[in-house]
Amino acid sequence: MVNNASTLICFIPFLPLIAFAINIFFGKQLGEKSAWVTLACSTCSFVLAMLVIRPVLSGAVIQVNFDWIVFGSGALQFGFLADPLAAIMLFVVTCIGSLIVLYSIGYMHGDPRFSRFFAYLGLFLFSMLGLVLSTNLVQIYIFWELVGVCSYFLIGFWFEKDSAANAGKKAFITNRIGDVGFFIGIALLFYGAGTVNFTDLTHEYFHHHHQAILGIAGLFLFCGAIGKSAQFPLHVWLPDAMEGPTPVSALIHAATMVAAGVYLVARLFPLYEAFPHSASVVAVIGTTTACMGAFIALSANDIKKVLAYSTISQLGYMIAAIGIGAMSAGMFHLMTHAFFKALLFLGAGSVIHGTGTQDMREMGGLFKAMPKTAWTFLMATLAISGIPPFAGFWSKDEILTHAFLHHHPVVFGLLLAAAFLTAFYMFRLVFMTFFGKTRGHFHAHESPAVMTVPLMILAFFAIAAGFPGSPFMHHWFQAFVLPGEAVKANFGLMMLSSVVALSAIGCAYYCYIVKPEMPARITQAIKPLYQASLNKLWFDEIYGATVVRLFQWLAGTLFLFDQKIVDGAVNGSARVGLWISKIKNWIDQYIVDGAVNLVGAITRITSSILRLFQTGVIHHYLLVMFIGILMILYGITK
């Protein structure tokens, strides 16, 4: 069984790659049939993944290896590793991936680059599966970059739009910033620990090797996660990434790729466990992100932007969970979040598909027009808000419980506040979109079955995915991920979080259904706060002003994207950046180059001056000869 699985495991990532190859080379001939190629491949991957997961469930660890780089006496091995962590991700990625491919058939119908889209999806699934199955940090880094580039392609899929092209570039480059740190972390670990294999980096290992350098390595490695999982302060790319087609947002920027950062931190959990200081940094970043995301989501009016900030916030939850030591809870939340957030995005996609707008202020009252979408959307919203017995409740509660029980009061408090905000803005979204009166001018219609069927399947998971980790199943999930971890259910806390969520829903109901004029009054009352939220805490602007100075030209271009909302001061600094870069170019042309040209020029000028000494008059020549003789005689006899 295990041998069999170790053969099968190799096929899982490569099936989508085949789909990519077929679509990229024969996409033109295939037309819209190309979608089915990708769908078939991803479904096969899903089936294979299930076959591989089965032995893992019974405690086996499946691994295959081969040499990838050799140097001097050493070698770097690559391979595939399926252990509990990987198994969860494998399930999530193949399952959601297949559903979203199916959904996309409807969503992308009629797009001129239809086959290209499914090619990219195949490439992404390949990269993502390679990432989750990685055996070591180097391999994960490689696939890490590959998913990044897929994300770049897919964000900029409608590249004729400048905003899409810019968003893709912004995503890639922001991620690269994190990746530089990630790389340094790998290098530090490579030389500090002598290995980058996950199977070697165990709890026991760090118990015996407790050098400070490894702790620092942990911090640098976390940089990668910050970039990829859109954590503070590198979260700015994710909202912009919503320029991509909605299925992409669902798959890459909600369910799977952005979770890779969490997955990485979970993978390195032994490291953070051994270095509490590094872990506390992780926790702080996670908590900050969770609150910040939720805060900004409050005021967003673009349906996808709300979800994007919500994703940021939820990822912060997961990161914070691992930071405070609740790795299994973090992974649990990752899984449940993947399902309900994918559902939310797909639902939002369905709404956009049906209405043609993304602005919530133009929506309203869609419940009747799009009942399937609305119902599934509502379930996902309940899940994310943490209403029992939906999936999100169990996982979120698990994190809060851990924070409370392990004496992280600040984290607990902040996460609880974030939970309140989450429920509030999610129901604000639901109320503004599906309830009340239609404010825009369109004729909404329900989406076709290829789109609604995935919604329903995901809705099922949004309810059911929480049970494996619930007390009803004796926290089976947690035991599977991290055997030996004692998990206790705390009913008091469960009550508390439910109450918080329900009260948030109540507030939202009051503000957006009962007294629709309330929000305007509130924003008037707390204008600075509202402005802060509306302007996303001015992150883009601050980066515009600082990163410009650091990365000169780069920021100047990033900046053009945000032209609408910038003021003159920032514009000025962008110009400074341009100037610096021009000066550098100038230095190259006139100073470095000039120095050499100067040598040439001096030679030429000297030559043209000196040649005048050749007067053509013979007694001048003789005089030179005479002086020469005298000087030589003087020199030689001295």
């Binding site: 000297t606 030559s607 040649r611 013979i618 030179v624 020469g628 030589i632």
Partner: protein, 479 residues
């Protein structure tokens, strides 16, 4: 060896002497000019062919007034090319007036004879006689185009400068004679050694005064100022000849004088030559940069080349000696070849300015390519002869530890690349206004081909040349 026995080793010279008279007579008798040219070349080949026996034995001839050693053999062979190639190129050329060609051949043959004698003597009197005679003939050759303003001016300058330089040389010789009491170089070291330290100043003064005379011959700075004017003004075949022949012999004589007569003063003259070498190459190269007359560029380049050769002389180690002679040999083919091409272009275009060379690559690809190869060789690009030469001079400087000299030479070589490529640029890169192909002159082309063959062959297979110089040096050392 007494004169009668000496004659056995004097055959080449005798053949040349006979040829001079025969050709002069035939010219008067009205034989057609081309035939005179062929005869001259035949005489030159005959003179080299008459070399026999073990070439590298050393003999003293004519009561020790002359020496027959490897270097003199080397010179005899070189003279064949130095004199033969310009003659060959002149036969069909209009650069020398047809009426004057007879005299020209005779003068060249006489010069060949004088050069050989200059190269095979270690006696002050003979040195003086040969040097002065070579100079006088050269003045006449330069001025032979008597209706050409530039040529006559060049010859006048050459004459006046040469006369003063010779006077200084002779004065130096007289002082040296006074100090040593002998005119034979070989006896000098012993005699000079007896003088004691207080006379060293006088010895050095004599040496420096002689250096002026030879410095004039080899166009060493600061005694080079005549060179650009004369080379520019002289008829091109003559200019080519002047840049290689008197210079080569000047170096040989200077080498003989310094190493035979002044081995004790090695440190002084070596240090002096290092400085003069740097000065010479720098002046030559820097002045050449802003020129736009190809002949004048080559003239300054030949000044610079003298600087490189001086590097070998300054080192004067075994490698240094090889460097000097290998440089001279390769330089002979390369520089002469360049001047021959310049002559062909001048004959067709009537100008030596860079503009005349624009578009040459289209008008006559062969000429453009050969001139490029000669220039590349002058710049020291492998696998051409000039590279081997440059290799040796650099090697001699590095070997003896003259690092600064080597560095200066390296920088200079880079500067030189600039002006050589000015000509290349004109030929290949700049479009020319004329499209008409340049008329072929088979004899001149043959001469160019010979020079080209020498340039390439020595570059690829330098061994025979090195071996020859090695043997010459061995026979010289057994002195």
């Amino acid at each position: 060896m007494d004169p009668i026995a000496s004659l056995a080793y004097f055959k080449p010279e005798l053949i040349l002497i006979a040829a001079v008279f025969v050709i002069l007579t035939l010219d008067l008798a009205g034989l057609s000019k081309p035939w005179l040219g062929y005869l001259s070349i035949a005489a030159l080949i005959g003179s080299v062919a008459s070399l026999s026996g073990n070439l590298f034995d050393t003999h003293w001839l004519f009561f020790n007034l002359m020496i027959y050693d490897g270097f003199s053999v080397l010179i005899q062979i070189l003279v064949l090319f130095m004199v033969g190639l310009p003659i060959l190129a002149t036969i069909g050329s209009t650069l020398i007036h047809e009426r004057q060609k007879g005299e020209f051949y005779v003068m060249m043959l006489a010069l060949a004879l004088l050069l050989i004698i200059m190269g095979s003597t270690t006696h002050l009197l003979m040195i003086f006689l040969a040097t002065e005679a070579v100079s006088l003939s050269s003045y006449l050759l330069v001025g032979s185009q008597k209706f050409n303003k530039k040529a006559s001016e060049a010859s006048l300058k050459y004459l006046l400068y040469g006369a003063v330089a010779t006077a200084v040389l002779v004065f130096g010789m007289s002082l040296l004679y006074g100090l040593s009491g002998t005119l034979a170089l070989t006896e000098m070291p012993i005699r000079l050694a007896k003088l004691g330290p207080q006379a060293q100043g006088a010895v050095l003064t004599a040496m420096v005064l002689m250096l002026v005379g030879f410095g004039f011959k080899i166009s060493m700075a600061p005694f080079h100022m005549w060179a650009p004017d004369v080379y520019e003004g002289a008829p091109t075949p003559v200019a080519g000849f002047l840049t290689v022949a008197p210079k080569a012999l000047g170096f040989l004589v200077l080498f003989r004088v310094l190493t035979i007569a002044f081995p004790v003063q090695y440190h002084e003259w070596s240090a002096l030559l290092v400085i003069l070498s740097m000065l010479t190459m720098t002046i030559g190269n820097v002045f050449a940069v802003s020129q736009n007359n190809v002949k004048r560029i080559l003239a300054y380049s030949s000044v610079a080349q003298a600087g490189y050769i001086l590097m070998g002389l300054a080192a004067s180690s075994e490698v240094g000696v090889y460097a000097v002679f290998i440089y001279l040999i390769t330089y002979l083919f390369t520089n002469l070849g360049a001047f021959l091409v310049v002559g062909i272009v001048e004959q067709s275009e009537g100008s030596n300015l860079l503009e005349a060379y624009q578009g040459l690559s289209k008008r006559n690809p062969f000429l453009a390519m050969t001139l490029t190869i000669f220039l590349l060789s002058l710049a020291g690009i492998p696998p051409l002869a000039g590279f081997i030469a440059k290799w040796f001079v650099f090697a001699s400087a590095i070997h003896i530890g003259f690092i600064s000299l080597a560095v200066v030479a390296a920088v200079n070589s880079a500067i030189a690349g600039f002006y050589y490529f000015k000509i290349v640029k004109a030929m290949y890169l700049s479009p020319g206004d004329k499209e008409s192909p340049i008329r072929k002159n088979h004899l001149a082309f043959t001469a160019v081909l010979i020079a080209l063959a020498g340039t390439i062959l020595i570059g690829i297979l330098p061994s025979p040349v090195i071996v020859f110089v090695q043997h010459a040096f061995m026979s010289f050392r057994t002195l």
